[in-house]
Amino acid sequence: MKKPARVFSEVIKHLFKKPATCGYPFEKAHIYPNFRGRIAFESDKCIGCQMCVRVCPAKAIEIPLSAEQPAAPAPVEGQPPVAAKKKFDCIMKLDHCVYCAQCVEVCPKKALIMTQDFELASVDKKQLRRHYK
């Protein structure tokens, strides 16, 4: 039953095969569409409910009020004046984020969007604190 060098034929076969590994930084890796990467933010959808902030396990999100607020829409005759829609920013701390995408799931207005970005490493700490406006 014992056959010395049992793997011989397999090894010889592989001499003529393409390697299974790829030269990663030069050759892009294949990413599936539901990969959980960097979270993007759409400010005009956000209503500032702070659900994402509360649910985040890593305390990676902050939703502050924007510095510049849009002006209230011009009042229409005969109707009560409409208050200005508040505008919110999003600060994503990429070094805190665990990429679980729970915030995307919990967001009632779909203001947070999951992207397939994953090459987020940086030597500059400022790069890791993304401020979406």
Binding site: V7, F8, I12, G23
Partner: protein
């Protein structure tokens, strides 16, 4: 002028420079072949050279408990012994640079010196891992030395000479006899694999057992020269097996001779790489059993067969 030429031989070809560059090249070939057989990419061609330059730039740390002078001198001893061995082995032509009757035995002993320096290196480092590693080096030395010597004696008996160049010339003259040395050739290859401490016989520096083995405490330049000595040993070992079993340069000289030499050493490297990927590393006591129970008798059988053949041929 006359006195410069031998010096050039020693320093450039087939001496130090050739040996170092070709050794690193063979290291790359070996790594690349293993990688391809394992379905990986493997390193780029300049990897061994890059490693060499990087290690040269690293700090050398000598343990306080170690004998500083010996610790520093040993890598150079290992390298010098390997280069000296190459002087008597034919490389580019039918004759070696400096050949004499009995140089086969001298080369075998010169090739033992690196192993002894490995032992001393591990022992003088005094750390637990290197101590265990150096004990394993010595154990391994006693296991492979006899089969290696026995397998090299066979062709010498057949050729009726203890001179490597003459053995090569004998097989060049009688190429029909080369296949009859198959058993001895295989035994010599496996013994060479054990001698070079390559997988599956890399027991003295098995990284998942005893970290770096005998080289654990070595760093920077000193480690670099030890590794270079190992690479050179691969070239010299392959050249020796080539000269003794495969008829050396087969009568070619000059550039053709170099071509034959490169081709055949590359082939031997391929066989050694194949051995490397085929098996799991065995334990030290299994290695001793293997060398004495299987390898030595096989080499012995080849010697007996060669004596018989010698009488037959007259």
């Amino acid at each position: 002028m006359e006195s410069i030429i031998p010096l050039a031989y020693l320093i450039i070809f087939p001496g130090f420079l050739f040996l170092a560059v070709y050794g690193m090249f063979l290291q790359w070939v070996d790594r690349k072949l293993c990688a391809v057989m394992q379905n990986r990419m493997g390193p780029p061609w300049f990897q061994p050279f890059a490693d060499f330059i990087k290690l040269l730039a690293k700090e050398v740390i000598v343990p306080d408990a170690a004998d500083s002078a010996m610790f520093r001198a040993l890598p150079y001893f290992a390298m010098a012994a390997v280069i000296t061995a190459l002087v008597s082995i034919p490389v580019s032509g039918p004759a070696a640079l400096f050949s004499y009757q009995g140089d086969l035995v001298a080369v075998i002993y010169l090739l033992t010196i690196p192993t002894v320096t490995f032992f001393l290196a591990g022992w003088s480092s005094t750390s637990p891992y290197s101590t265990v590693g150096s004990m394993r080096v010595l154990t391994q030395l006693f296991a492979y030395e006899v089969p290696l010597m026995l397998s090299l004696i066979g062709p010498a008996i057949l050729a009726g000479s203890w001179n490597i160049s003459e053995i090569a010339a004998f097989f060049t003259a009688h190429p029909v006899l080369i296949p009859s040395q198959l058993l001895g050739f295989l035994a010599a290859l496996i013994a060479l694999q054990v001698k070079l401490e390559r997988m599956p016989f890399d027991i003295p520096h098995a990284k998942n057992e005893i970290v770096g083995g005998q080289f654990t405490e070595y760093s920077g330049r000193l480690l670099n020269f030890f590794l270079l000595a190992v690479d050179m040993e691969l070239v010299v070992g392959a050249a020796l097996v080539n000269a003794v079993f495969l008829g050396g340069s087969l009568g070619f000289a000059g550039w053709a001779g170099i071509g034959v030499f490169l081709g055949k050493t590359l082939f031997i490297t391929f066989l050694l790489a194949l051995l490397k990927v085929l098996m799991a590393r065995i334990r030290i006591e299994q290695m001793i059993n293997f060398c004495w129970k299987y390898l030595a008798p096989v080499a012995m059988a080849q010697v007996a067969f060669d004596i018989f053949l010698k009488f037959k041929l007259g």
